[in-house]
C-alpha cells in the first residue's frame, strides 16, 4: 500500500476486508486511534497508515465469533466486497476534475474457497466493472477460483495463483504494482486457458452441450418436464413419422412391374 501511494502523489488507495460475516472498510477510515510516535525511520504518514491498517485487521478478525453449528458457511462474501469497491470507484471517478483521467483497478487477495450462492452477485459485479472499464486483478492463496479467473479474463486484469505465501510481497510488487499498459513490456506469467462452460443445475458438472430454459436461462444436462427455478412446463417433442417413403417405394415397384 505504501509503494502504491509513493508512486504518484495523485494515486489513491482504499482497502476493504471481507469475511463470511461481513465487509469492512479498512482504509481510509474515519476514526484513527493511533497517536503514538513512530519508532522506525519511515515516513510518518505511512507508518501511521500501516499501524492503523494492522490494528483494523486485528479488530475485524478477533471480532468475528465462532459460527454457530447450524449456520452453513457458504464461502466469504466476495460479491459484497466487489459491490462496495465498485460504489467507491464510481464515486471517486465522478469526483475527478474534468480533464484528468483516473484509471481504476480492483485487486482481490483471496484465501477462502468459492461460494456457490455468490454466483449472480459476482457476475453482475463483473459486468458492471467491465462497463466502467475497471479491471479486476486477483491473487489467489488457497485453491483455484473459477469466479476470479473469469472476472480477470472478462475485465482485462491478471489472475495469479500464489503457492508460496512468504513471497507474497514480491509477487505484489513485481506484477501488480504497475498499470496494465506498462505490464506488457515486462515478463509476467502468461494467462491460463479459462473455462467458460456452464455447469448444469442438477449435478454441477461442466457441460459441452446442455438444455437451456427459454424463460429463466437455467442450464440442465438432460430433458426434464418442469423447470426447477421458474416452474415452466416443457412439451416433449414427438418424432416426425416418415410416411412418404413407403408410398414412393410402392410407386417404383408399380412402374417396374
Amino acid at each position: 500500500v505504501s509503494t502504491q501511494s509513493t508512486g504518484n502523489p495523485l494515486n489513491q488507495v482504499a482497502v476493504y476486508g471481507y469475511l463470511n460475516t461481513g465487509v469492512h472498510m479498512l482504509h481510509p477510515t474515519t476514526d484513527s486511534t493511533v497517536v503514538g510516535e513512530c519508532k522506525s525511520g519511515k515516513f510518518e504518514g505511512f507508518d501511521q497508515m500501516n499501524t492503523q491498517l494492522v490494528l483494523n485487521v486485528r479488530d475485524v478478525v478477533l471480532g468475528c465469533d465462532e459460527p454457530e453449528p447450524h449456520q452453513a458457511i457458504d464461502g466469504s462474501l466476495l460479491g459484497a466486497a466487489l459491490l462496495r469497491a465498485l460504489c467507491y470507484c464510481n464515486v471517486t471517478n465522478k469526483a475527478v476534475k474534468s480533464g484528468h483521467t483516473l484509471h481504476t483497478r480492483i485487486l482481490v487477495i483471496k484465501g477462502s474457497p468459492d461460494g456457490r450462492g455468490q454466483y449472480m452477485t459476482i457476475m453482475n459485479a463483473i459486468f458492471a466493472a467491465q462497463k466502467n472499464k475497471i479491471a479486476i486483478e486477483s491473487v489467489v492463496l488457497g485453491e483455484e477460483s473459477t469466479y476470479l479467473e473469469q472476472a480477470s479474463e472478462i475485465t482485462g486484469g491478471t489472475y495469479l495463483r500464489v503457492s508460496d505465501h512468504s513471497a507474497l510481497t514480491q509477487y505484489l510488487l513485481s506484477v501488480f504494482l504497475m498499470s496494465i499498459e506498462f505490464r506488457k513490456t515486462f515478463n509476467i506469467p502468461p494467462p491460463n486457458k479459462v473455462d467458460f462452460r456452464a455447469a448444469c443445475q442438477c449435478h454441477g458438472t461442466m457441460l459441452d452441450t446442455g438444455f437451456v430454459c427459454s424463460v429463466c436461462m437455467t442450464v440442465y444436462c438432460s430433458f426434464r418436464a418442469i423447470c426447477q427455478s421458474c416452474n415452466a412446463h416443457f412439451k416433449l417433442r414427438t418424432a416426425v413419422k416418415k410416411v412418404k417413403k413407403t408410398a414412393g417405394k410402392r410407386k417404383l415397384e408399380n412402374g417396374k412391374s
Partner: protein
C-alpha cells in the same frame, strides 16, 4: 418546479424521470429474454431534414450503432436484422444474426435518402423472415420513421392482421409528428409508439427498447439445446467458419471455439453453427440476462434528520439538513447517497447492504 432549495430544476426533473423509468420495470412478470429483432430504418426524402444535426439520417445511423452495442450487451443471445425503406420498397441489408461488428459496419455503409417510405413493404419483408423463427423467442420489429406518409400497394389492415397472426410485436419511434397509422399498428400488435422531442430523448427511447419486453402467451417455454464450446489455443489447424466466404480474412489457425457436435471452428461466440444449427454460447452470456429476471427493488426516499450518517456504498458523508434526502433499502434498512443509488440500480442490480450481511 422549484429552483431555490433543491438546486437547479433540470437536475431534479432528471432525477424523477430516472426513478420513474426504474419503477416501470415490474418484477414477477415473465420476460422474453431471447429476442429476434428487425430494425427498420426510414431512408426516405424526409430523413434529409436538418432538425437533428447534421441531418436526420446521419444522426440516426450513429444512434443505431450505439443501440446495437447496448442491445447485445443487455441481450447477448438475441439476434438483430436490418431493413432499410426507400423508394417505396424494403431492402433487407442484414440478415438476423448475433454478429455485432458486421451490423455496425453495414449501418455505417448506408447512404443516400430518396423516394418515399412504404410501411406495407418493409413490414412484409420482416414478416417473411420472422415467421420462420422458433416460437420460444420473441419476434419484434422496431421501426424508426421520419416520414408522415406511406405509399402502399395494399391496405395496411392486411399487414396488421398478418403481424398479429404471426405474433410479431411492432414498436414505432416517430421523428416528426404523431401519425395515426403507426399508432394503430403498434396498438394492434402490442408494441409501443413514441415520438421523439430531441436527440437525447431519441437516445433514451432507443435505450428503452434494449430491455426485454414481457412475454406473450404464444411464446412457449422450451428447453433449447445449446453448446458451450471450449476456447482452445492448441487445437487442430482449421479455417474458421465465420470467415470461410471472405478470401481476405480466411486463414488457417489453431485458436478459436470448437463446436462440440460437428467440430467446426469459430472466432467468436455467440453464434449459430452453420453446419449443425446449434447455438453456441458462453456461460457469462447467459448470466448477462439474469438482472432482467431478478430486478432490484426501488429504494425509499428518506428525509435526513440531524446527525450525520455515512453512505453504506461509498462511505461518503450523507448531507444532512432541509431538503436533503438519502435512499433506504427496504430489506437491510441501510442508507445510500444519490450517486450510489443510481449506480446500484443502473449497473450493479444488487444492494451492497443486503449482500454484506
Amino acid at each position: 418546479v422549484s429552483t431555490q432549495s433543491t438546486g437547479d430544476s433540470t437536475a431534479a426533473s432528471a432525477k424523477r424521470e430516472k426513478r420513474r423509468l426504474i419503477q416501470q420495470r415490474l418484477s414477477n412478470v415473465k420476460l422474453g429474454v431471447m429476442r429476434h429483432l428487425f430494425v427498420v430504418l426510414d431512408q426516405s426524402q424526409n430523413m434529409e431534414d436538418t432538425d437533428l444535426k447534421p441531418c436526420r439520417f446521419i444522426c440516426l445511423k450513429r444512434l443505431t450503432e450505439g443501440f446495437i452495442m447496448e442491445f447485445y450487451d443487455q441481450n447477448p443471445i438475441s439476434q438483430i436484422g436490418l431493413i432499410m425503406g426507400r423508394n417505396g420498397k424494403g431492402y433487407k441489408v442484414s440478415e438476423l444474426s448475433s454478429n455485432i461488428n458486421k451490423h455496425a459496419s453495414i449501418v455505417q455503409q448506408q447512404s443516400g435518402c430518396e423516394g418515399q417510405f412504404s410501411l406495407f413493404n418493409t413490414l412484409q419483408l420482416a414478416h417473411k423472415t420472422l415467421t420462420g423463427m422458433p416460437s420460444y423467442a420473441s419476434r419484434e420489429v422496431l421501426l424508426i420513421a421520419g416520414s408522415l406518409t406511406s405509399v402502399d400497394p395494399r391496405p395496411i389492415q392486411e399487414i396488421i392482421t398478418s403481424m398479429v397472426e404471426g405474433n410479431i410485436r411492432v414498436s414505432v419511434i416517430g421523428l416528426s409528428a404523431s401519425v395515426q397509422i403507426f399508432n394503430r399498428v403498434a396498438a394492434a400488435t402490442g408494441g409501443s409508439y413514441h415520438v421523439m422531442l430531441d436527440e437525447q430523448h431519441l437516445q433514451e427511447l432507443l435505450r428503452f427498447h434494449c430491455t426485454p419486453p414481457t412475454a406473450t402467451p404464444t411464446m412457449e417455454p422450451t428447453l433449447v439445446k445449446m453448446g458451450f464450446p471450449p476456447h482452445t489455443s492448441t487445437g487442430a489447424l482449421a479455417v474458421c467458419q465465420c470467415h470461410v466466404d471472405e478470401r481476405e480474412k480466411c486463414e488457417l489457425s489453431t485458436t478459436g471455439f470448437t463446436c462440440p457436435t460437428c467440430k467446426s471452428r469459430y472466432c467468436e461466440v455467440p453464434v449459430e453453427c452453420r453446419l449443425c444449427s446449434l447455438t453456441l454460447v458462453c456461460a457469462p452470456h447467459l448470466a448477462r440476462s439474469y438482472h432482467h429476471l431478478f430486478p432490484l427493488h426501488l429504494f425509499k426516499e428518506v428525509e435526513m434528520g440531524m446527525g450525520d450518517g455515512r453512505c453504506a456504498g461509498c462511505e461518503g458523508e450523507l448531507s444532512a439538513g432541509d431538503g436533503a434526502v438519502s435512499y433506504q433499502c427496504g430489506e437491510c434498512l441501510k442508507l445510500f447517497c444519490y450517486t450510489c443509488d443510481l449506480f446500484i440500480h443502473d449497473m450493479l442490480h444488487h444492494c451492497p447492504g443486503c449482500e454484506g450481511s
